[in-house]
Amino acid sequence: MAHIKVVRRSMRPEEWTDLRFGWLKRYIYEEKFEIENLKVRDARQVTEMQYDYYPEGWRNLHKGDMYFTPDGTAFFDADVVIPEKLRGKELWFSLKTAAEIIVKVNGKYVGGVDPNRDRILLSPYIDSDYLHFEMEGYNRSKPDDERNPESLSVRGCRQIFEGAYLATVNHTVLDLVYDLELLLDIAKSDLFNEDYRSFLNREINNALNLIDFDDLKNEDVAAAKQYVDDVIYANDDYKGSGDVALIAHSHLDIAYYWRRIHSVQKNLRTILIQLRLMDRYPDFKYTHTQAFTYEMLEKYYPDVFEELKEKIARGQFEPVGAMYVEPDCNIPSAESLIRQCMYGQHYFREKFGKTINNCWLPDVFGNSWILPQILKKSGVDYFVSNKMSTWNDTNRFPHNNFIWKGIDGSEVCACVPPTHFITWNMPSQIQENWEAYQDKNLGGQTMSMFGYGDGGSGCTEEMIEIMHRFKKLSIMPKTEHTSGAEFLEKNLKDNKNLEKWDGELYLEMHRGTFTTKSKMKRYNRQLEFKLREAEMVSTLRHLKGAEYPGEELRDIYKKLLINQFHDILPGSHITPVYRDAMDDYEDIDARLDKIIGTGEKYFNSLNFPRKHLTFIEDENGKSIRFGKQGNWVIPNLPALSCGDIPWRTYAGDWCEIGKKIVTPFYEIEFEYDGSIKSLYDKELDREWVNGEFNKLKLYKDNPGVYDAWDILPNYKDREVEVKIISPLKTVEKNSEVASFECILGTEKSTWKRIIRVFRQSRGIEVENQVDWNEKHVLAKAQFDCNVLTRKAVCDTSAGFVERETHRNTTWQQARFEVCHHKWVDMAETDGGIALINESKYGVGLLENSMSLSLLRATVRPDVTSDRGHHEFCYMIYPHGDDFVKAEINNIAYEYNIPLRKADLTCENSFGELYMQAMKMSENGKMIVIRLSEQNGRRGKIKLGGKVKILNFLEDIVEETDTIEYKPFEIITIGIET
């Protein structure tokens, strides 16, 4: 007998409830008046406040018409006389749309509509029977808010207009709708007690049975509402547990699937919506990050900014996050992160009289170990970031409320909320948060953020209305709607129970962002150092009487900081965002060149003697590097000084080229593809190679939907064959350098490698000229070293971090690709190999192997990502002793900072500390010098006189004539001019 599966075809009781709930929502609007004289004009935004208009001009817009264009902005206009029957009533504007529309009525910004909300209260703005509507909409065929199924269903560039209305709302119906939203969420969630959910299903049905949907009457709806109050809310037999703080916010990516210019209006719309909610709900508090977004509002919408200031003063609108933008926290240097805090805090102080004591980075892709010190010295005691709890792919991050101890021992209180930073404040999401919270009984309340985001938008009326009902439900955890600062002070401050995390906050995901969009990373590195040079040169010139270009430098710095936003520098954005960033980088580069200028002599901006081989461009030079002529020379310039660098020809034959290449340091056997079969160190009498060394490896790189973000641990599964197009041959030999060149390739790409060995340097440089046309391929340079070690050391830009290279536990397994800055080193106690780079951040570390990530070729969000020509180099630097004695950090600085001409000197060099910055203070009264201990040492520097010790905001902390430093400490001193 055939088995016939029994399928239930009749309607379940829960489906009957859902159906009636849908019907009920149809009665939210009591009366509607269609605005039929709406006109629309299509445009495309080209700058923050400028638009290219389509030639069609204004046209009438009727229900059913198509509106919006790809990447389009539309302007709307209508004059409406309020119909007599609606006059004197509470009046709403209603427009269901997939776009993000800012609504102005009679010259006042009244709010916004978007896929998350379709009505705005008009009554407070009505002072006559006449309404003039001006609206601006940016279309959103974007993936943000895709967690909201309703917004997902309306995605696309061309939309059908569903009509705009003046309307009145039936509050009896609306109240019941909110009750049912709340109760049905619990009824459908298996996170809640099963018996309670049965009770809810039964009693919701009973309540709805009081309404005749064929002839809906207000009194029936009121009776149903009364039933909910009397039977459901009155029931306290079922007890929930937990204590959850509800923090309203909106995540606003400065750029992502939209350009930075669009975030001006996204920000306005988001802030407007929250301000209007505050008008209606006096208990509503909202947090908003990024000084840059406030700056934009102030610049482009000063009236709304004034209103915002009032709400801040009243405590309803809360600036959070001390930083200028929410930057990536892996790739930017320590100085950049300090400037994120300094420019952010200075803005908040100047405009709102506040120093923000929290750092708010919900979406950032992992956080460097150098951050706690930077935060602490920037007036920040608290750190908030969600990613590690919800996005780790291997290990569950063990804390939510904890102490984060930094590389130098500084500590901040940290909150990694247990759930995603975008929620819509539903009971099931709050319950999930409580259940996932790992510091119950120790950490106080758990934080649950609510509000739509990515592209802004924020909280809705519904979220607040539902929140107001939580206290009626005994099954819910205890909830408290609070501000960010209140939560942090209440739960983390002086909390002795908090556990401690001592290390970086590595995100076990998004490991590809160290490498994606290679050119941006290279520019960022170069410009960080160029800015250092520009500030230093300007300060030294200022001491000789020149004007300090403070405003220009600040403007340039901010432009660089904006491009360190966590969806810009990491590479997770669409093509136009990349173009904007590259335009910005070119602009910054040119402006810095102008500031630095030139001179007669070469200037060593480093505060240690420059004594390692470097390339100096010279049109009569004997060598070529990156297509430019020049010479390889040892500058021998003392710290912070200038001088001539003569180039002398060495007459002897220092390099023997045969089967082996013999230099003063090595006997090298190359393979035809430029990899090294043997690297015998004559000086140290040891072989450095144990396997593939300087081998170009290409892998199929298919991480899935998070294409630009992720590299998966299985990337080595499928290797792409690299063919030798032109085998290694000698292309140059002069008195300082011998160069060898090979051309490798695939069917789509060619990869020229120029390998240089030197007479006066242990370094072996590899220049790469790549025409890259791959898709889903990861390029790495593999180095299997003849070194027995279980750890590698990585530069962080302000000290080093040791990383285990074994795979003993899941924690090491997850860290198969990590971020480093200028160098990575793998060594035994008496020697090792450093890889020094000038633009690469991703590296894989496994036992005795290092694999430097060079290029990727992803397709989402940018189909064109990384295709085209690339040039970059790195240096292999075998050394005796450990990396500190071998001065690897110094060598890496010299490798990253090209010598420029400027006739300047500075007497103080500050010994063993690295001079990270020299600038005039923001108030122009002091020379500010930032010194960084990077070798893990403790010591003292006795100064000739007293100096001020400053925090990173340039506030005076104390006075001293001795700098006492500890490992990895960053110290700022101020010298009054």
Partner: protein, 78 residues
């Protein structure tokens, strides 16, 4: 036509996370390749009609736009 697609239409679609490439133009049929967000858009036909009207306005040519969609592997489930 290829130049028009590259210079005028492409930047606009890229602004929405999409990508369009000219494939051919023969006998009034303009064939394009859609990638990125466009490759999975459920209402892309509306956009193609818009491209046709843009071409008519700017170039005075009546064309039929035919799209080939190239979804990345991670969206290619159907």
């Amino acid at each position: 036509m290829e130049r028009y697609i590259n210079l005028i239409i492409k930047p606009k679609l890229q602004g929405d996370g999409g990508e369009i490439d000219f494939v051919s133009y023969e006998d009034g049929i303009l064939t394009v390749l859609l990638q990125g967000e466009c490759s999975k858009c459920l209402i892309v036909d509306r956009c193609l009609s818009w491209i046709e009207s843009e071409i008519m306005r700017d170039m005075g040519e009546s064309v039929k736009v035919v799209a080939r969609k190239k979804k990345p592997f991670f969206w290619d489930k159907d």
